[in-house]
Subunit: 339 residues, 4 copies
């Protein structure tokens, strides 16, 4: 109880910033938030009031300049991530940054270089690694419980597409949505992907196609160790958020099911049925948001590497670029072709 | 965020007291704990430190005398509940009390009379009503989703028996363990039980029998509205905590499954298997402990009846007495035979 | 292929007689049906044509007198079973008889005495013992896979009640429907029931009550070895035939689910659902009808005891009488009280 | 019962020939087998004895020359199929032929031309279409129950690889094993595949690689109507035969699970488990072998098109060739590139 606490500053008081602020306030006794800032000052004030954060800072610079703050959470818009990482690193702060670092590999590399040079810790917000289901699957692979893996499937479907206005600035489905699955693939298999082949199309909403994006994809991954796998993405599953993985190994298979709000099954006159799965990521991954921050905090306090490093933030962006290139050029693309 | 808060005093810093203190501190912005007390002052201090509770009171009396405190949580040992309810009521405090109120119906009646006379609110800690699974089942009955209910089953098995030292002072399995199921039966069906028949025995540990208790029981309940049901209790299920219900109605059936730490299924060379269910009540009913206090707090703040009233605390004790009488006399016993 | 065949005569060409005739004709190469008879000669002729049975006999007597026939299937109406067993035994025929032997214990005893005196084999048609699910459960108990059993549940619900005209002559739900569950209880636990307590009522159709029967029951069984269990019966489950069992033992639990026409699950916009379970016994227990006759044929050909003996036919009738007595007298009834 | 019967001749008394002979003999009253032949006369005689087939023919020619025979089952080795189809067609017999017709498209075309010219019926033995699970999925797509399909997955894994001696003459995994999945894909979606991309490797047994084949594959299919899907193949799944499909549509998802020998679940001290799925195709697809012959017989007797036509036999061979070409050339291959 009297153990050392890690002092945080939070940059960004939007949806995910608020979630993280609540986690630090109500779930992690080993964390203390010193200040929060947002371009929308009112949003920052509301979160500060809700989470007992003593100060609202006028800017990220003010956060970086605060000597009491040891670590920052970067929860601002994607285009600011890389620059803020550089500034935070220069200020000697440990960094937890939401994904993606940037869509520009040069900016990512600059950010990672700054982190390295400063000797601070960096963790990227790939929260799904901390989900109990996927952690259990990773454990089955890592422990040899299913033997040597050979085939992998990731199903990752959203309940409904985002607004077209968002689609236009999202950077595309591969960067916006599949990026979590690219990370998941590497995490589950514990090895690197060498080549990607993408089949996809516009099957949910023609407006998404007009915006230059696709909404449905099957991506084939070939890993360095020979494993082959698929990622199945759709922007729309009417039954809710569909998040499953399956791995076949030489000694067995492990597969996860979706999570449901309850375990009740109704047998009626027409069907045997249950309620729909948890609808979207805030419900489905609630606990993983807590666990990733607990992990980050422990890594910093105990001075050991974070669970999701800067490289873990870079590679999925490379994969997203390769996936798009494969789709555009209608051929398998090796990751070594990308920057 | 700036809404009115309810000010609490907590009596008892044992396991459940600590759980409730954490809930008030970290999950309920609408609650504020003013002080905590325990016969073990060190325990109270530890919880206070962990949960940012400003004061440790020397006694329950000090809690009752604190004008800032509007509501008390009674989490002390069972034999103190009834007296503390009386004192709290006299002090004009609203009361959340762990189950059971008492094993002595006269003491329960005195406590309820004091509550009524003082015009304060009382909620009994039957947390399972707030579990998402059982709430879903209750909803199916109340809404008519499964038509008129006819048959009900409650399975309620612990992973392992408590120490014999505890068995000796527990008041017996019906009062200690089945009492939750008696409450559940009334809650699910929404009607009162008229008659109970108990079959049971010592099948888990002969020491439990030597202590005068049983460890396995099947209890048949007959409700006023004609529904018949069973409660299945065992002090030991090697696979973990087994908590399920099933109701047959004229328009269908609803049944719940256990809760698991993850949704992963492994297909191995011998079996298709998954990890064991959540092991015991702290894991299984985590969220229900939060929800019941949220419900209590809202009831007091909004001045409406609590979800689990004093009568809801009394009747399961009557049922437990009837269940034991049925077991001892080897015949169905009507609740009207009990005090 | 050239192995010895058992030569059968079939008495009764109704629904179950036809099922058995088809099994002998199309599924059991080791069986040959010589003749069939029925009070309705046309029915017998139809089954004979369908199943390539060379002769239609004018009466059961003609079957018994046929020296080519080694074994008879008694599939006629219940009130004829006991007499036909006596005649068949006197004629030196091995006997497979549908349940129940009789509702009159004296007639059962006379039939069993005739069988014993003649030294022929007798098997009673408790086909569910041969169902893959229940056989698996029995195996788990017998092999010690779940340790020493303590609690047992049988759920046995029909999709819809029979016509009232049938209810009036059925002998009552306990003899007509529960008798299968009484057999199942003995089979699964591998021990005898000492005492029965019945709670029940008319919840499906008041006409059933007017006919002097009940349509819903919970029956508590206490076995000689200490196991306690329940049978849950309803004449109506709108979702179809509900046939499940569950046993708790000192080393684990085994429970069965219903059987479904397919394993497809549909995730729609409202629910996640599957088709209803197999609707009634002809679909649900199809294979068990084959397996029981294969078992009987092998027992006779190999001259070893049948899997379901005459005593196995008698005891469930005693249990049915005890269950009714318990219901009428509102108290637990020991089987030793019954004739 | 007195309805017209179809008179069959069977060519081939190996494993599948025997299964079909038993189906005709014991399950289809509307069928009568006149004669059977096999290059191994003893095998033919054994099946004839078992299935009450009156004659064993010396050759296929004798079958074709028998005027009593209206339809033939071609169950001989693959390399004889096309020629036998031609001969049977010339003899005016309706034809049920096991898959594949041939691995040589020219021979297939010649066989289909002969069938067309003779005006006889032809059905190919893609039995899985008649499996209750896959038929249910097809129905969900065809009826619009899940809306417009967008993504499809077929998992098809064998419990263990065949002997290397068989692998060498099998024509390769795509023709030997995946061919069923190619048919399934077309059947489920109800449209044609335009393009195939194959990723694969040798992950089960290096000997398979030395024999020039692969044992593991992921095949991406692009349909004319825009649907994209995958086939997942492995020659080895230690937990048994893994046969599942899943389709996402605009109005929902349908997915099937494997079939199990029983529905019993054991909760033990280590895991919650069930027995392994049905091990291989003879257990898993038992009923579908009956249903396909029932369908063929009805098609001939009622003079309507068969459910699986000659074209349905040709296209999966084209797909297998394309899949191999894609694997060899490491690029997506359009079916229009193939002969």
């Amino acid at each position: 109880m009297s153990a050392k606490k890690l002092h945080f500053g939070i940059i960004g008081a939007g949806r995910i910033g608020r979630v993280h602020a609540e986690t630090l306030a109500f779930r992690l006794p080993e964390a203390h938030t010193v200040a929060i800032t947002d371009v929308n000052a009112e949003a920052a004030q509301q979160v500060a009031a809700r989470c007992n954060i003593p100060a609202v800072a006028a800017s990220a610079e003010e956060i970086f300049a605060n000597p009491q703050i040891e670590a920052v959470l970067i929860c601002s818009s994607t285009n600011t991530h890389a620059d803020l990482i550089v500034q935070a690193a220069k200020a000697g702060k440990h960094i937890f940054c939401e994904k993606p670092i940037s869509l520009d590999l040069a900016k990512i590399d600059a950010a990672l270089a700054a982190v390295k040079s400063a000797g601070v810790q960096l963790q990227i917000g790939f929260n799904r690694r901390f989900d109990a289901n996927f952690a259990r699957v990773r454990n089955a692979v890592a422990s040899g419980e299913i033997g040597a893996p050979s085939l992998m499937h990731i199903i990752s479907r959203d309940p409904a597409p985002p607004p077209i206005s968002y689609v236009r600035v999202s950077g595309g489905m591969f960067v916006d949505m599949t990026i979590h699955d690219f990370d998941m693939a590497r995490f589950l298999i514990g090895d690197e992907v060498e080549e990607i082949y993408t089949a996809g199309g516009v099957m949910v909403d023609p407006e998404i196609g007009k915006a230059g994006d696709i909404d449905t994809a099957l991506i084939v991954l070939r890993f360095r160790n020979g494993v082959i796998g698929t990622i199945d993405n759709s922007r729309k599953a009417v039954y809710g958020y569909d998040q499953r993985v399956e791995i076949l190994g030489s000694a067995g298979k492990i597969a996860t099911e979706n999570c449901y709000p309850n375990q009740a099954v109704v047998s009626g006159a027409e069907t045997v049925h249950r309620d729909l799965p948890l609808n979207f990521f805030m419900e489905r991954y609630t606990e993983s948001f807590v666990t990733e921050l607990r992990s980050f905090t422990a890594s910093v306090l105990e001075n050991r590497p974070t669970a999701v490093t800067g490289i873990d933030g870079r590679i999925p962006v490379v994969m997203a670029i390769a996936a798009r290139k494969s789709y555009d050029e209608h051929r398998p693309v090796r990751l070594s072709e990308i920057g």
